[in-house]
Symmetry: C2
Subunit: 185 residues, 2 copies
DNA sequence: CATTAATGGAACACACATGTTCCGTTCGAG
DNA sequence: CTCGAACGGAACATGTGTGTTCCATTAATG
């Protein structure tokens, strides 16, 4: 018998998903709110995550996994750099609440998990440098700034959807057009 | 004798400034934290702002004032549209913590104060439309999206300073270059 | 069917932010 | 100098989130 029963992984997922959804909209939400959204008792949450910080850490790790998966799907090494950037942004945009959560929840601003450079970070930086070497991407822009810019523009795109009621597709289109022009040579 | 003593306006300013500084870094900071930063007793804060929400409302109004002043200084009606946008961004960037505060404190996300269109909003939209009519600014981009984009890129610039230790000047330079290219025709 | 894992809910102690009251002290205008 | 405005600090009541314990119930497994 595995230590991780099917039931346990399912409820764990339910808690994580609900927490992402609730906290993305209200960073000050209580665990009772998360429990309600997950259709789970509040004590059950404490069974899986002893303290609130443990839940947040688990969420962070989960987001990192999703970012890694989205990066892999983007096949950054293939084709023109600008098109690869566009593919990556489309994938990242689909992270939805997982993306806005990182910006909205203060506990993630200086989270330890971001400090260490991930494979996804490395892949993006490499892609930008490849584009700069090939003359596709503006050499005057710092790759780290471009990385920062991409995340913030994706956040802007989602923010545009939520506050101005723009459609997801239209918002992403405007975002990609702006971003591509911003970093092009 | 005016109802507003010189001493009162000074402490009021001290509280507001301290609150902006503290809350920009930690949106969950207590009023005791604000009081300590303002070198003021906690009860004094309640003398000026009965409830926490009153303090936040006052901060919002103060930020709106600063935005209006910065917009006026930018003289958006003069010169090429792209240069006017750059002037405006430089002024807005100087708002510093007043800017990041609005992004970081959840209470401001759906604040009533933003709903009504201000003169600054109108001036920026008008400027963008003027630029589009003159062929300086990309006609395929929605003016409201551009407005959104400007704020988010300024936030990105400050974020770049804080997390990556970039210099303020260098960060603003990269931001302006990216933004100008992004919205140019 | 029987046993065990998994859950829900009540109850509790604890910590902390908030808002208020009260009183002594300090500062500044007249 | 004097008087009143402004302030600081202690104390208190309140509300709320957190983490824990305990017990009854339900679901899954063999």
């Amino acid at each position: 018998m595995t230590a991780e029963t099917k039931a346990r992984v399912r409820t764990r997922r339910a808690i994580l998903d609900a927490a992402v959804s609730v906290l993305a909209k209200n960073p000050a939400a209580s665990l009772a709110d998360v429990a309600a959204a997950a259709a789970v008792g509040r004590t059950t949450i404490h069974r899986y995550f002893a303290e609130r910080s443990d839940l947040l850490t688990a969420i962070g790790a989960d987001v990192l996994d999703k970012i890694a998966a989205a990066t892999d799907r983007s096949r950054l090494a293939e084709g023109p750099a600008l098109e690869a950037v566009a593919r990556l942004c489309s994938e990242y945009f689909d992270l939805g609440e997982n993306l806005t959560l990182v910006f909205n929840v203060p506990e993630f601003w200086d989270w330890e998990g971001w400090e260490q450079e991930t494979a996804a970070d490395r892949a993006l930086i490499d892609l930008v440098q490849r584009g700069q070497a090939a003359g596709e991407i503006d050499r005057a822009l710092d790759p780290v700034w471009i990385q920062h810019l991409i995340w913030c523009m994706l956040y802007a795109a989602w923010s545009h959807v939520h506050t101005n009621g723009a459609s997801k597709h239209e918002s992403l289109t405007q975002c990609l057009r702006s971003l591509t022009k911003a970093i092009a040579a």
